[in-house]
């Protein structure tokens, strides 16, 4: 039987998804379900002077209207609202807690009714008066208030002096606007009131145990009394890492009514959740004439809320990636009257590396060097921040294989020198980098005598393919056909897992499954040895593997079927659970890398931009599933196209409100915007990072893509647009 790991295995949950059998958080039905609808604030800062729900309460079918004035008890202390991934500094948002307005779109009332339509109608009848206060939502207007949140400025060498002395210098400011996650599935929670003081909560989340712990804190409930379930998630991209307010409100509603409640947010309300913070990035690069870097200075200013300091360092990547004796980096925040930002695919890197890689392109132009050649001259086999080697780094192979697949050597260096009829053609490239993180988690395997195994872990599958890779790893480790493996996940009662994020899930859960399968194998060997004239009598655990439904002695070739062993041992089930943790060793840096090559065609006269080709060559250790992994990287590239050309949350700073809070006006790429995407996984064996050599690929696909496209647009047009998104009017701006 060929191994499943490394193959393009189709999704094991594909059938239930395409047939609609897969149920999402807002789709679980129970008798007696009541429905919620949220009323949100229209101002960005101030207090609620008065809420009048009397008209709403008169609507037939309305059960209750909860506000800060009449809601059931919730915890008072902000610590009770801290979830696993809450920022260290600040007090989490407490929905319906008091009369304070912290951002426009904040929930201020929950209408509960017999039908969703009734709840929605009644929500429109809730009258609110505010005591308004002046608000700030504009990063540029408040950049002078930037402060250091968690990590002070770091420096090696003398960066300013080296920059001043450098033969060739480049300095510029880049900007990434606020972007919203816009997963297809709306945020939703269905709370089952079981009548025995216990709740089952179906929630759209990336971390069921995180939500469970949060709800226990907010409502002072015992963990055994709150079960959180999330078998399928229709996209989240980081927006589901923290418990969102709808889950707290749904539970609040259920407790108020003592019955089951469903709450589904609207698309507009989803823009009142979290987002990628707008960030101003200042880069200064100094190089010798031969293209070796001597100074890297990266300073970033990012948005956060007034009540929490959400900080993801955009600038550390610049100092880590390229060889330079002198480097300085600093990430700062500005507090605005907005909701707290959150992680969005490759937080810190998607934005910080965008700026770095555009700056590198500009430096290459100043040096009259090919942009790829500049990267090679600054290549480092060591993490420049920590001065340690990588567990593996095959970025050179990414550059080489990517360039070859793209045909980079045919690039003519001068801007505006390549064309196709009325279109200018531009080729740009960039580097991508992300972390290869691993987190403590546990897996349980139950092997039954019929040759079937159930593997379970509380991780979520946010559409990335976790079900599938868990099944692949378990099947290989247990020597079973894929169809004989059932995967359970997304349930807080399952073995412990952190949130699904940071690209750490695949490596962590695979390792946990492998370790647990090992326990199962040892138990099978123990039983096999007790058989009369056992062919495995003298075998040591290290001698045997599970393959094709048997325990095989690798040295002797003798084997016993698992079914026989279990029958002999009179066991119909072997169940093991084990936890893996990863030592925070500082001996090696753990990262994934990529090289992105992009072709754009720009109508010379009108500035209409088409991204006609993208090659993304990725070094991310061992790829568990080349099919789902390719989809992941393609998704990252598509998002990178959106970041480069389309995505921007538009605030009206006078009103402090988002003006494009819908997916007609908040643009993401549509099919017409997406052309050829070529994904390459370079071979990157890694014997250090973990026994299976897995790194994870959730974020790396987007990092660098927007820079490659921006650089291609410069190459096509000779026009450098540093503030995203690059819309056609910006190409007409005076230089």
């Amino acid at each position: 039987m060929a191994p499943y790991i490394g193959t393009p295995t189709s999704r094991v949950d594909g059938h239930v998804k395409v047939t609609g059998a897969a149920k999402y958080a807002g789709e679980f039905n129970v008798p007696g379900l009541a429905y919620g609808a949220v009323v949100t604030s229209t101002i960005a800062r101030g207090r609620i002077a008065r809420i009048d729900a009397s008209e709403a309460l008169r609507v037939k079918g309305v059960l209750d209207v909860l506000t800060h004035e009449n809601r059931p008890r919730m915890a008072a202390k902000s610590a009770a609202y801290k979830d696993d991934v809450a920022p260290e500094q600040g007090s989490p948002f407490r929905p319906l807690y008091d009369d304070k307005i912290l951002f426009s779109g904040q929930p201020i009332a929950l209408v509960l009714a017999e039908e969703w339509e009734i709840a929605r109608f009644a929500a429109s009848l809730v009258r609110v008066e505010y005591k308004k206060q002046a608000h700030d939502t504009d990063l540029f207007a408040r950049r002078d208030r930037a402060f250091v949140a968690d990590e002070p400025e770091k420096q090696r060498g003398k960066a300013d002096r080296a920059y001043a002395a450098a033969a060739v210098r480049h300095k510029a400011e880049y900007y990434i606007p606020i972007e919203h996650h816009n997963p297809m599935e709306l945020f939703a929670s269905t709370v089952l009131w079981q009548g025995d003081g216990k709740l089952t909560v179906y929630d759209k989340t990336q971390g069921v145990q995180n939500v469970q712990q949060y709800l226990c804190g907010v409502f002072k409930m015992k963990p055994d009394d709150v079960r959180v379930v999330s078998p399928f998630v229709g996209g989240a991209f980081g927006s589901g890492l923290r418990p969102q307010y709808q889950v707290a409100l749904a539970v609040l509603g259920a407790r108020a009514l003592e019955r089951s409640v469903r709450l589904v947010l609207t698309r507009r309300q989803m823009y009142g959740l979290s987002y990628r913070p707008a960030t101003i990035e200042r880069l200064a690069l100094g190089a010798a004439a031969d293209g070796t870097l001597d100074a890297i200075i990266h300073e970033a200013i990012a948005v956060t809320s007034q009540y929490e300091d959400f900080s993801r360092n955009d600038t550390c990547w610049s100092a880590q990636l390229y060889k330079s004796a002198n480097a300085k980096y600093l990430h700062q925040l500005v507090r605005l009257d907005l909701a707290t930002p959150s992680d969005m695919r490759a937080p810190g890197a998607a934005t910080g590396v965008y700026a770095l890689e555009c700056a590198m392109d500009e430096l290459a132009v100043a040096l009259k060097l090919d942009p790829l050649e500049l990267r090679l001259r600054c290549y480092s086999d060591r993490d420049q921040n920590e001065d340690i080697p990588y567990t593996s780094k095959k970025l050179r192979d990414c550059y080489r294989q990517g360039a070859e697949a793209f045909g980079w050597e045919k690039r003519s260096a001068a801007p505006r020198s390549m064309r196709d009829g009325s279109e200018l053609v531009g080729w740009g490239m960039a580097t991508g980098v992300w972390e290869a993180l691993q987190m403590e988690c546990a897996a349980r395997i139950a092997l039954t005598a019929n040759g079937h195994a159930e593997v379970a872990c509380a991780f979520s599958d946010i559409g990335t393919g976790t079900y599938t890779i868990m099944a692949q790893v378990a099947a290989d480790m247990l020597g079973l056909p894929l169809d004989n493996v059932t995967v359970r996940l997304g349930d807080s009662t399952l073995p412990q897992a952190p949130v699904e994020g940071g690209s750490w899930t695949a490596a962590s859960v695979s390792h946990a499954i492998a370790k647990t399968a090992d326990e199962v194998r040892k138990e099978l060997l123990r039983l096999a040895k007790t058989m009369l004239n056992s062919p495995l009598a003298g075998a040591k655990p290290k001698d045997v593997v599970l393959v094709d439904g048997s325990i095989l002695n690798k040295a002797t070739g003798s084997a016993v079927s698992i079914a026989d062993v279990m029958r002999h041992g009179a066991v119909d089930r072997i169940e093991r659970e084990s936890t893996v943790s990863f030592k925070d060793s500082n001996s090696h840096a753990r990262n994934t890398h990529s090289a992105i090559f992009a072709e754009v065609k720009v109508d010379e006269e009108l500035g209409v931009i088409r991204v006609t080709r993208v090659v993304n060559a990725v070094a991310a250790g061992r790829i568990l599933n080349t099919k789902t992994a390719r989809s992941q990287i393609m998704g990252g590239v598509v998002w990178g196209i959106g970041m480069a050309l389309h995505e921007e949350t538009l605030h009206d700073h006078d009103f402090g409100r988002i003006m494009n809070a819908n997916i007609a006006e908040y643009h993401v790429p549509v099919n017409a915007d997406v052309h050829d995407i070529d994904v390459i996984f370079v071979d990157e064996p890694d014997a250090i990072i973990n026994p299976l050599g897995i790194k994870g690929i959730g974020e790396i696909g987007i990092v660098g893509v927007a820079a490659a496209i921006a650089n291609a647009i410069y190459h096509a047009t000779g026009k450098r647009v540093r503030d995203l998104p690059i819309t056609l009017d910006k190409l007409q701006r005076p230089s």
Partner: protein, 338 residues
């Protein structure tokens, strides 16, 4: 969305009677715009009168060689109709430049005429808007006005009409047939939509108790030299920054007849008889086209976020007229600008 009553009209006369009896009622056909607006509480009809089953779904040739299009013909059927595709490809192209296939399947011809603006302030009931609440003020002027008007605007409103189809209908000199309590009447498409003036709450000259029954096209379809060129912030499924419907009748290089209509720049599809007259009798050339562009844009006014549209419109007009003159209309599937 507020609670509303639902009623179904049995014929056109019934529909007219029902709407006359209830001033706060609305007709619903495809609902692709109305339902969105109801969800946002911008439209709050007490009653929806379903006209989707009325017999207004035929496309028929008229005695004078034109085409009469029933008000309930779906946009996708109209774009794919053989007579439209052959004789009025400009109309087919404009329809296919708008929305998505799914929306076009639902959207009706009459409903497309009655689309409301996509102005973000019109959609956000927390913001003042003269179109939504007359007298409350225009929030868009010098705020988020990227999608807003540069022509025919007023201090009360700088919203744009979002339709692509209507831009082609304007260029083709369509006639809108309506029925009301006192019988039927016809309006030139140019008279159907209104400029905002001091009454931006009124998008059209359709009376509250009238219903659109048909759109009629004259015989001349400009099937040889036409284009619909739409420029937007992504390559599909986005409203126009600027769109141009251009149609020419050429005698060798000489322009005998010209039509030029702009979308995305005004409260209605924008035509300028002076600009078209300037094309007539001239040689088809970039210089001629630029002159026409300057004429049609002579009163254009930009704001902080949309001033770029003036120069963009000039370029798009020249390009569109060039496409039309060459007989190389813009493809709506291949997004490379021809």
């Amino acid at each position: 969305m507020i609670n509303f009553q639902y009623a179904r009209a049995s014929d056109v006369a019934d529909a007219v009677r029902m709407i006359a009896a209830d001033p706060s009622a609305k007709f619903i056909a495809g609902g692709t715009n109305l339902i969105d607006l109801m969800k946002e509480h911008v439209e709050r009809p007490s009653r929806l009168i379903d006209i989707s089953r009325l017999p207004l779904k035929t496309v028929a040739e008229t005695a004078d060689g034109g085409l009469r299009i029933g008000a309930l013909v779906p946009n996708s059927d109209l774009a794919d109709h053989p007579l439209v595709a052959q004789r009025y490809p400009l109309l087919a192209s404009a329809i296919l430049a708008g929305a998505s296939q799914q929306l076009r399947n639902m959207a009706s011809t009459g409903g497309n005429l009655l689309q409301r603006t996509r102005c973000a302030y019109f959609y956000d009931t927390a913001a003042p808007c003269n179109k939504r609440e007359p007298g409350s003020g225009c929030s868009a002027i010098n705020r988020r006005s990227r999608m807003h008007a540069i022509l025919g605007l007023s201090e009360s409103c700088i919203a744009t009409h979002p339709s692509d189809m209507c831009v082609a209908l304007a260029a083709l000199d369509a006639t809108v047939h309506v029925a009301g309590p006192s019988g039927e009447r016809a309006m030139a498409i140019a008279d159907f939509h209104r400029l905002p003036g001091t009454t931006p709450q009124r998008d059209t000259n359709l009376q509250p108790n009238e219903i659109v029954t048909a759109v009629e096209l004259p015989a001349q379809g400009f099937a040889r030299n036409y284009t619909y060129l739409k420029i937007r912030d992504r390559l599909s499924y986005a409203f126009a920054l600027v769109s141009v419907a251009a149609a020419l009748e050429l005698d060798a290089d000489t322009i005998k007849e010209a039509r030029l209509a702009l979308g995305g720049v005004a409260h209605k599809p924008w035509r300028d008889k002076g600009a078209e007259a300037a094309l007539r009798g001239q040689t088809a050339s970039p210089a001629t086209f630029a002159q026409a562009a300057d004429l049609i844009l002579r009163d254009a006014k930009g704001f902080t976020h949309n001033a770029f549209k003036i120069d963009l419109a000039r370029k798009v007009i020249v390009r569109a007229l060039t496409q039309a003159a060459r007989g190389t209309p813009q493809s709506q599937s291949n997004k490379k600008i021809r």
